[in-house]
Subunit: 438 residues, 2 copies
């Protein structure tokens, strides 16, 4: 049996002379490991014993855990903003079920309003939608496509603000996906997460969600932002540009930090006072100018370079007909000279290679040293001061929405500063001062 079949995947099962094609369904806890249950295109579900069958994954699927259980409800409030709370999963919507001891990844409208009663004051209408119950490490480009399309629909149908509750692990990736997919936003889209689950007294979730209300009401920008604690106390929340933020600590509440950028805004508590910190932002657009380009390619790879890296790993992706590879190089954007030929081959085969830097801060500059110049000659594209994660998402978005362009057009699109994902002029002063004395 194929070891890597996941729920939601579209598969073809060959068993002797029989062939079945369909989407893999979740198994009950009691079903055998040998049985794969799929939904056929005619709507019927069948279980197939695959112990002696050949299983081919045709396309990876997007699954919303226990879809039939997902709930949504609408609450009327006293404010004037039409808001949607979209829950994707993650710690922020996780609660320990004290009867069974299990973590329950769901939040009801009642629970949300108990945690953040201010929603009633800000919203004219609040839709609380459980969109999926997924850990953020399981999200894929196919999921970004579905989610951005859904958020796009909400905005088109008049939402003033969309609050996306999301696991923190891959929040940068999803925030970037939304930032590229949602063009000319009429208002902010806010991602919030939590480093401590909502039912713990130390939870950061309520404050992060509250801060989003100030953003929806007062922010002049029409951007996708991440709202997370600015410190380990409950004194303020920072709104970071979605394409310029990174989770920089595995557990602290102030794990999210703006990289090569100042945070966009700060919301002080308990006053809930909004303060703009960054004058460089994309202003809110007219709603009629808003559009959605929600396709993402899953044929993009992200490689972190390391000394002695087997250059064959680049060939691995070229051989699998990937469209683009982001290589997180060293310093100003270097990889070992031994890999230059593999990159040249990738270019010849039509694969776009973008070089970013594993220093995280600062920008690449491949004209300083001979290694960089050789990489440029081999067709590598310098990634400015874009985060590796964001370059990965951007290429997935470009390849997904603009199939069939030629190399020159792809490179031009990559250099277009679509969501302020890079600074055309990088200033060293964007580096924060690090203090160990506290």
């Amino acid at each position: 049996m194929a070891s890597r079949v996941s729920v939601g995947d579209r598969v073809r099962i060959k068993k002797g002379s029989l062939v079945y094609e369909g989407v893999v369904l979740p198994k009950s806890e009691f079903s055998s490991d040998k049985i794969l249950v799929i939904k056929l295109d005619n709507g019927y579900n069948i279980g197939v014993d695959v112990s002696d069958a050949e299983v081919e994954v045709l396309s990876e699927g997007v699954v919303r855990f226990h879809e039939s259980e997902l709930s949504s409800s609408i609450v009327k409030g006293n404010g004037n903003l039409k808001l949607t709370f979209l829950s994707t999963g993650g710690t922020i919507v996780s609660r320990v079920d004290y009867e069974t001891g299990a973590v329950r990844p769901a939040i009801t409208a009642t629970e949300l309003l108990e945690a953040v009663p201010e929603f009633i004051d800000y919203a004219s209408e609040l839709a609380v939608v459980e969109y999926s119950r997924l850990f953020s490490e399981d999200l894929t480009p196919a999921y970004w496509a579905e989610l951005s399309s859904e958020v796009g629909k909400l905005i088109k149908s008049g939402a003033d603000g969309v609050l996306v509750a999301h696991g923190t692990d891959t929040m940068t990736y999803t925030a970037s996906a939304l930032a590229f997919a949602l063009r000319n936003l009429p208002g902010p889209v806010v991602l919030v997460g939590s480093q401590r689950s909502s039912d713990r007294p130390s939870s950061d979730s309520a404050l992060n969600m509250k801060a989003s209300l100030a953003i929806f009401k007062e922010a002049p920008f029409g951007e996708v932002v991440v709202c997370m604690h600015g410190t380990i106390s409950d004194n303020y929340v920072l709104a970071h540009r979605g394409v310029k933020v990174r989770k920089m600590h595995s557990s602290r509440r102030d794990a999210f930090q703006s990289i090569n950028d100042a945070p966009l805004a700060r919301i002080d508590f308990p006053e809930m006072k909004f303060r703009l910190l960054n004058q460089r932002f994309i202003a809110r657009s007219k709603r009629e100018d808003f559009s959605v380009l929600s396709r993402f390619s899953d044929k993009v790879a992200l490689l972190k370079f390391y000394p002695g890296m087997d250059c064959g790993i680049i060939d691995f992706f070229v051989d699998r007909r990937y469209g683009a590879i982001v290589i997180e190089g060293t310093g100003l954007g270097h990889v070992r000279n031994a890999c230059v030929d593999s990159i040249a081959r990738a270019t010849e085969e039509g694969v776009i290679t973008v070089i970013t830097t594993q220093t995280i801060f600062g920008r690449v500059n491949m004209s300083v040293y001979s290694t960089g110049r050789k990489l440029l000659k081999a067709g590598a594209i310098p990634g400015h001061d874009i985060l590796s994660e964001v370059a990965y998402v951007k290429l997935s978005w470009i390849l997904g929405n603009y199939p069939g362009l030629d190399r020159k057009e792809y490179v031009e699109l990559f250099h277009e500063n679509l969501a302020y994902e890079y600074n055309p002029v990088h200033k060293d002063s964007l580096f924060p001062v690090w203090s160990h004395e506290h």
Copy 2:
């Protein structure tokens, strides 16, 4: 012709019925691309037209650029420390040759003493050795083995301090390699680099080298440290523990920052005043207890996880009989659930998989969420608060020096805190305060 043959590689060339085996030599600038010049085992050099030949790389080589030109000299001083300045290459020893315009990656004793005359006051004897002329992105585990063996010899023959000039791009990796290879150091080994070449007025190289003298004289620790600017001014230099430092900016002079650790010491200028910042250090050992374990395996991979990552990349390394893989996971140490089977297969095949976190700061904790628990069950080893780069080097060192251990012994060795590469109790207060107001 094989596209990935580098100078120093051991190759086998099959040309019709003839087979040649030897080490690839540098070509003159005028020789044809089709000709590979190799040194045969009998000592003779031959050039082979490989346009119609089959070239197989038997092992990757370590090459010291233009070996015949490497120089060394010894200077007598007025101090009482026996010191060696070992130049490996990189910006710190690069100078623009104003006659030809080319960058010359070499520094002579005279040039070193012009830049840092204090060497004369501190050293009884100073050996200035040009060990290699390599950009640090080209260094490999094989090079770490040679270099650590060389530094070991110097210390065994009585050196009080060894100063290694090194490119900054992969300095963390080399510093860690030395830290694992040099057991019970009688004194500090200092790596210095430069973000601006030495002949530029803004160069940081002289101050970083000067600081090393204070370290050699006053530091109570016997550790491998990285000495680099603490700020963009010339007011102080920080000595970071080699296994706990990272280049965090592509170009700033204060790019190096201690991660999950306080810097070991600070040297203020112009007084050259040494101050210990971290009470947790490995003290200088007796010289007779010093030993060197300098082997490194090149069968270790470092993978950065990203959403939708093709789990086949794990199989790629397992199929190539790698001994260990470091996976830089998200948050507390997660990868997508779809990859759990590939990790379980790696474990079955005897491959050690260590999980670190791409948040860089904080530690992994794989017992909190179900994803982490599944990874543990599949055999993944949690990497504490070790940097991904350092986990990679540590596994290369373990596999190189202890071949043939069983899984349990490898895991035990990995959990041994050999060079204070992790904090047995990780404190969140190790996270620096980030200020954007400067």
